[in-house]
Symmetry: C2
Subunit: 221 residues, 2 copies
Amino acid sequence: MQIQVNEKIFLKDPNSSELGKKIISNGIELINEIGLESFTFRKLATKLETTESSIYRYFESKHKLLLYLTSWYWGWLEYHLVFSTANISSAEERLKVAIKVISKDIPDNEMFGHINLGLLNKIVISESSKAYLTKQVDDANKEGFYAGYKRMVLRISEIIKELNPNFGFASTLTSTIIEGIHDQKYFAEHLPTLTDISGDSSVLTQFYTDMAISTIQQNTK
Amino acid sequence: MQIQVNEKIFLKDPNSSELGKKIISNGIELINEIGLESFTFRKLATKLETTESSIYRYFESKHKLLLYLTSWYWGWLEYHLVFSTANISSAEERLKVAIKVISKDIPDNEMFGHINLGLLNKIVISESSKAYLTKQVDDANKEGFYAGYKRMVLRISEIIKELNPNFGFASTLTSTIIEGIHDQKYFAEHLPTLTDISGDSSVLTQFYTDMAISTIQQNTK
DNA sequence: CAATAACGATAGTATTACTTTCAATTATGA
DNA sequence: TCATAATTGAAAGTAATACTATCGTTATTG
């Protein structure tokens, strides 16, 4: 089972070689350690005992690497969502599962092949908005670089519409929930005044589930 | 009437001189034009017909300038909020006004002294999360660089608690609303699949107001 | 076994993100 | 008003960043 990522994001598929896989796995570690701003291909090359030029053969910039990581993450999470909701007939139940899937805590040692899912989740929480908060967002969007995220939002929106066909804000509610979950997790760790959440994700899941259900029901005709 | 900004954010108060004011007003323009990533003090210096070193006498980095702009914005918005809610006794009404204040569209030519509020609002929407999504967030927080944002969240949280003292997620709901409003405005312009919002802010205001009210009421004992 | 793809090594460029020093100008208050 | 301090400008310098290019060696595969 392989997660698909838009081919225009990379120059050479990092899954096609050992070096490519190391770039991804060590890239995830290094971005977590020092943050995206301090992260450079030179530092990653040193860590890998390879050269800058070798890394540039895979990704034309660290921004593309970030796009790769976030796209991969959304691909993986979509797979997870589809799997977790496959046998559930109730739309409300599927929505609850979806929110649980998004908000679930991932331990720092959970692996999917060579990819550390826990660390990747942390990157998504603290860096992924930088993938679209850029002047190049419209070009990147045209190239389809955000397709994974959009698919995820679409899937959940459709559950919401099934729950209440008269509700006109399924996409807005979905993206509010996804971004909200990431923000709240970040705030819990760094700016606790901005949140009532702390500890594990169960309270967070509950809050957004309640919020979603009551918001959706309210607009029922 | 002067908006106060934490003095540790700047080296020299940009309000204390003509050059300082130009750094702020032209900085706002230039960040809007080319985005925070491409923005440099060298380019700003060229625009101002001054030198890099002169700008560095006011701010030690462009990140500090961003912190200044966002802090100023929250200071200004808090003033606005206090003013707009001063004579309203109903907590529900005050909450509605608060959401309106945050989501209001600001025209590109609305000025407050030398500061273009419309452009500053755009910076807050597309760049302000970068002020805290950094490895230095904890140090910056200790220095009080996010005090303005936190005060804003606190004020609105208190309205929510007044509305329903049994509701335990006032801060989470407030920060979800504020961040959500910014995200939705950004999505409306750049990633429209992720939102149901388009056009002016009235629908956005209505959505978050409804969401807030129904979420708060739900947890009433 | 010949071709080709992948990688490493080295070097080079323009730009960024600053810092430092010193001289000229401007404001201020004794 | 004159001395003093504060402000700005000009110039130069540094280390790091974000790449690009070339070339030789080593694997891989057909």
